[in-house]
Amino acid sequence: MNRFAELLDRLVLTPARNGKLTLLVDYFRTVEDPDRGYALAAITGDLSIAAIKPAMLRTLVTERMDPVLFGYSYDYVGDLAETVSLVWPELPPERKPNHAPTLGEVVDALQSASRSDGPTVLARLLDSAGIEARFAIIKLVTGGLRIGVSARLAKQALADFGKVDVAEIEELWHGLKPPYNELFAWLEGKAPKPEKAAKALFRPVMLSNPVEDRDLEKLEPADYAAEWKWDGIRVQAVSEGGIRRLYSRTGDDVSGAFPDLVDAMDFSAALDGELLVGDPREATGTFSDLQQRLNRKSVSPKIREKFPAFMRCYDILQLGEEDLRPLPFIERRKRLEAFIATLDPRRFDLSPLAPFTNWEDLNRMRTSPPHPIIEGVMLKRLDSPYLAGRPKGPWFKWKRDPHTVDAVLMYAQRGHGKRSSFYSDYTFGVWQGALGEEELVPVGKAYFGFTDEELKQIDKFVRDNTIERFGPVRSVRADRDNGLVLEVAFEGLNRSTRHKSGVAMRFPRISRLRWDKPTIEADRIETLRAMLD
């Protein structure tokens, strides 16, 4: 338990991503099963332990010490978990168990505790542990380690530890369960890859690059197919051996939010496409319709009926037993077309190809698309296999409105008048610096473009992710692994010597909240500089 506690403490205080990775890799290398696996699960949020309420924790401790002294202590420290871990009375040596519990034993004890004896079990564990271990135990039972390490970073650490590609870890992840003994055995070269262990795993997705100046003149139109770029949410629908899962593009399981779509996944395949709402045979809903289905823990039948989810498919990665990813795009497309024809047409349709003869042609289609929820065109090389990541060349995106960027929320300020109780003025930034050492640089400030409902959501995000306050301004968590991506639309861009970024936006507004988008995929400053008027 002590090693885990020490790891948590080091991770919180280590700002650099590389430093965090070193600490995690070192932990995986030096700590044994099952402890390291439970630590991993705790960090990725995959450890399920019945929660203990803060009030119960307070009761437990004030049964054991003078409440006035506890009050002085809590006032001074300001954090309940930390205070309790520090002031919890040590048992006299003769009553203290001579064995400090391991993380595995703590997890076992907590998971097998019933609701009613949870507090007793917790108290016994706290009696047997030292200060650092008590803090870690309390963090486990009160939920939320808040150590600035995302599941993605933890997976990267596993990849570094085993010297494998992180895509391999992501692909396996959903088939594995804590404490991940077989995963560690594989990473240490002691066992084969636990590949076929589970069904309906996530396949790392293929991403596109934006079309930049002069890209197209080097390309042959006849080598590419074009599709409309739908402004929905990229998802992957995988159904195998009776297991159905809907994944976000980063491999998070979002099945729970779209039961209507999952119900229709009565097939054996893995599909790549865009989640949209509406009835594909009649009308496709707008992005604000789609918003009604996003970011909700549960969806009422009424909302489900009004905004039914469907998937507009553009790729097929697996069909039955066959992995189609090595096939060229044109081959996969044929299989996809035949396959979609067999599915429920209210829930699955095909993203149609958009035939064109030359780039001029395509440019006209891009700037005047046939539907408001189209945000441009996609170009896909006919002979390209489906590759994880963002290879340069096979896939391009060419957006309709060049004046939008994806930026990361950095600071929020209280609004005025009606909005004075909300954080409604947002400063956002984009990435700059060498790969692996990116930093956010602020590029603008916006205070409109979002709905009241969205304002409430951002406000909550700001409050939950504040790292510092200066008067009415809060700085929010924004790094490679954490943060909120905002799509910002603007009228133009000027050079500026007053801004650290060297650019100033005209009339920026928040055009969309990209809860689905990882921060590291927000735009870079070079993209903005290329847009300078």
Partner: protein, 336 residues
């Protein structure tokens, strides 16, 4: 004699009317008894100073030889009469030469602890509990949240980090008197034999400790003149905390900032200070040790000074021991 007639708080510090002297006065007085060399307790400009030889030496190093009109050295355990009042210095375990001062007169005995700790420390004489009527205790860490871990455990974290991050310099912030030497000695006792680099502000005191027979091993100045940044990769560099905030620290490769202090027990303190590797090493007693010491002195009355007095007074009340806060001002806790 009533205790408050033997020692009482005055603006300049704790005053003894029958002996006409102050203990650790914060402004110049004709006669001062000084517990230890930290600058909030030991100030320059007094008429006469009575202190242990090591405290006098340290004051000389810090303020220059003429820091007082006259000086007199007190040996541990030796009783000295000051205007007819019996005064005895006893080890306080805080820093080299640090003392508690026992004042005995008219059948009343008061012990002023100065700053003290109970943990073994190779760089300081060990604390001795003295039976007394009134014990004046410090309360720097006078809250139940302060419980110091074993110092060997903390040093183990530092040494493991140098193995985890062999390409980064480890900058350890530690106050110049006492903490720095203790940290270096702990590093040595953990079996670390590579040179330890020190900031210039520590040189005189480290030399002094070595001359008093406290082995600190191979110490080198942390300067880069004539060397490359890479020279400090994986090295341990010790300096005063103030130095780490300025340009001096930028010469080291991708440094990890560590800070050796009892305050590092509170995570928010470490976070606010940008400390990546907090080392909870204190030269003061933690909560449990304060309580244990109060009981061991057998004192029927406890006076509490500099620190978090209210919690300690509360605890004494719960135990049925009379206690009050002295509210002395001017002690800034240089040492932790």
């Amino acid at each position: 004699m009533r205790p408050r007639d033997l020692l009482c708080p005055k603006p300049a510090g704790l005053y003894c009317p029958p002996g006409d002297f102050y203990i650790d006065p914060v402004r110049p007085v004709p006669r001062a008894l000084v517990t230890h060399g930290h600058s909030d307790h030991a100030r320059a400009g007094h008429g006469a100073v009575l202190a242990t030889q090591q405290t006098l030496d340290i004051m000389g190093l810090r303020y220059g030889e003429d820091f007082a009109g006259s000086t007199q050295a007190a040996a541990f355990g030796e009783t000295i009469q000051v205007n007819g009042v019996d005064v005895t210095f006893h080890p306080a375990g805080h820093v080299l030469g640090s003392a508690q001062i026992c004042v005995d007169h008219g059948g009343t005995r008061i012990v002023a602890s100065g700053d003290y700790k109970r943990r073994p420390d190779a760089t300081s004489q060990p604390f001795e509990p003295i039976r007394c009527d009134v014990f004046i205790t410090e309360a720097t860490f006078g809250l139940p949240v302060f419980r110091h871990p074993p110092d060997t455990h903390e040093i183990g974290k530092l040494i493991r980090s140098t193995e985890q991050f062999p390409e980064r310099a480890h900058l350890v912030g530690a106050y110049a008197l006492g903490k720095a030497q203790r940290v270096i000695r702990l590093i040595r006792d953990a079996g670390y034999e590579r040179p330890v680099f020190i900031h210039g502000a520590l040189a005189k005191l480290c030399d002094y400790y070595q001359s008093e027979g406290i082995d600190l091993g191979d110490l080198r100045p942390a300067t880069v003149e004539g060397g490359a940044k890479g020279d400090f990769a994986g090295a341990i560099v010790v300096g005063p905390p103030s130095a780490f905030a300025d340009r001096w620290a930028r010469r080291f490769p991708d440094p990890i900032s560590a800070f050796a202090s009892g305050w590092m027990r509170i995570r928010q303190r470490a976070k606010q200070g940008g400390v990546e590797l907090p080392l909870i090493i204190s030269d003061h007693s933690d909560w449990d040790e304060l309580l244990e010491t109060i009981v061991e002195t057998g004192a029927s009355e406890i006076w509490v000074t500099h620190g978090r007095e209210e919690a300690l007074v509360r605890w004494c009340e719960l135990q049925g021991i009379a206690a009050k806060a002295l509210h002395l001002v001017g002690y800034e806790d240089e040492g932790d």
